[in-house]
Amino acid sequence: MKKIELVELEEFRCGAGRVYSVAVDDADFTLYDRFVEENEKDSTEELVEIMTKLNTMSGRTGFTDSFFKLNEGRPGDGICAITDWKGKLRLYCIRFGNILLVLGGGGPKSTRTYQEDPKLLSENLLLRSVSDAMTEAIKEKDIKINEDGSLSGGLVIEF
């Protein structure tokens, strides 16, 4: 059994949408915190570009679909990726319309497909299970997505 907590990232609360990440099994850091820590040294420029995109989307444009690499998971699970313009670093996320984004982890992409890279594959699969758990919680009305993109209800899910 896994336990996740959806945590709002206050640094991206700028008006156009809300950004959350996930803490797994009572960890005191989120998947996004880990992604930043893992890449700030070797992929600084790419990381800054992704952070700037997140800032611009959460503050001004909303999470417009064309800014993402869509369909990175199974059909309908909302898994997509944000990359730098060269596509060297990718961050997996779940997009709920233009107003809510849940960030997972990611890493540098050096293989042709993410399935060939064990790190990217495991991050992708983890976020798929988060997406499944969230979809179920929304269906059961345990979690509600509000008009401003914020989440209310039980933000800790066990599955």
Binding site: V48, E49, T52, T56, R60, T61, S66
Partner: protein, 126 residues
Amino acid sequence: MATADPVKVKRIETRMLVAQMLHDYLGLRDISQQSLAGKMGKQPSEVSKWLSGDHNFTIDTLSDIGYYLDMDFFARKETSLFRCIEEIELSRPGIRAGEFESLRVSQCVFVGNNYTTKKKLERCPA
């Protein structure tokens, strides 16, 4: 973000905002990416790249898009230079166009509540 170069950050933001303008315009006019690509003799993948927020548009490309979509990326927003000080109902008896002569009147005509109105504007303080 401490190590971010503010010039580069501004570039990324600007690319995304231009892409968003184009995205919104296509959505409002119900124009598909394929249709725009067809009009301009481009591949749909190129339009997709424009909308990704990663594309460094040239002035010529923006001009071409503007031509084919009848859109002006560089339209001046009067509201940034002028503020509304009075809204006049032109259809109301006793109001004549001559009363506006000494003031700048915006080109916008607002139609609502059975009145055709013009906004009387003055230049905002610098």
